[in-house]
Subunit: 189 residues, 2 copies
């Protein structure tokens, strides 16, 4: 998606070969006008699938997912991260090792809100090693709902996450796919 | 706001005299259509103030804030919670004791994104003891920006938070103000 790629080129900060900072418009300060256009693009790609639920993970996927959901006219569920397994009520759970800080998160979605008849689109800001997205795929599998696919803002295509998730048969649509950050230069696929 | 009050009466679950669960439409599963209407109401109330930034706190305020921001045509910043003070870059910080679980959170907003010339609206899902909102007020004060006010979805008016924040001279507009949850009955102000 050219709009997102141009914005990354203009305002993204390459920290090192692995890390791209986009906290001016994507995941600390959030440009909601950009999110609307991203939502329209995912609606173009996934619109015919009749999505009934969008799932994301706290925290930085939530804004993008909610604005995108306006295009799909469906609710968003955000999977909660918890350090402990002591939680109330019936939930689907998946353990996720964060690539950002190495922490183990215990993802949870209430069974009440995710049903076998649902058609689910996953949305997140980044796809790197695929740990978070893999956890969301696992939650959907547990529920028996249909997984329509995943809408990702920025995929680090030089890491294995995207391929690993696609190899599971999941349709992944990333709006900006980064081939390399080597030498401080952002190169798209 | 009648739409929100009606929804709370229909789907809210009174856990005890202090706790109201609204996770079917506000803070786990999120009804984005409802958020649009909430955004319109805050735009009606705060529109003349020329808001340039909306600030919220991760996680459950983010979706509401982003959808509301479409009405204000401005970006959203979400204050990050961190357990440690070891953070990179220049940030405004405020310590907040969570009333939900007693944890101490260290709120952070990058100085880069909050400027003295900004006119800031705070948005959050709940106002109870006012700890989170008080922390956001403190962040804005540090930046020298103008605080336009706070838009809250659900205020527990039987607790002291709202009064305490208003006593600081902050305009607080809560769309549903709960007078009491006694005896399992939801009563609005």
């Amino acid at each position: 998606m050219k709009l997102l790629e141009d914005r990354i080129l203009r305002e993204g900060v390459v920290v090192d070969d692995q890390i791209l900072k986009v906290d001016g418009f994507l995941n600390h300060q959030m440009d909601v006008t950009l999110f609307v256009e991203m939502g329209k693009e995912w609606a173009r790609l996934f619109g015919p699938e009749n999505v009934t639920k969008i799932i994301t993970i706290e925290s930085s996927g939530i804004g993008i997912a909610c604005v995108a959901a306006e295009q799909f006219n469906c609710p968003v569920i955000f999977a909660k991260k918890a350090a402990s397994k002591s939680i109330a009520g019936e939930v689907y759970t998946a353990d996720v090792h964060s690539s950002a800080n190495g922490d183990l998160h215990h993802l949870m979605v209430s069974k009440q809100f995710l049903r076998p008849e649902d058609k689910v689109l996953l949305i997140d800001d980044f796809l790197a090693n695929g740990a978070a997205l893999g956890g969301m795929v696992e939650l959907v599998r547990q529920s028996g709902a249909t997984l329509v696919g995943a809408g990702i803002a920025v995929e680090k295509a030089f890491l294995s996450g995207g391929q690993r998730i696609r190899d599971k048969g999941v349709r992944v649509e990333s709006l900006a796919k980064i081939k390399s950050l080597a030498g401080g230069k952002i190169e798209f696929c």
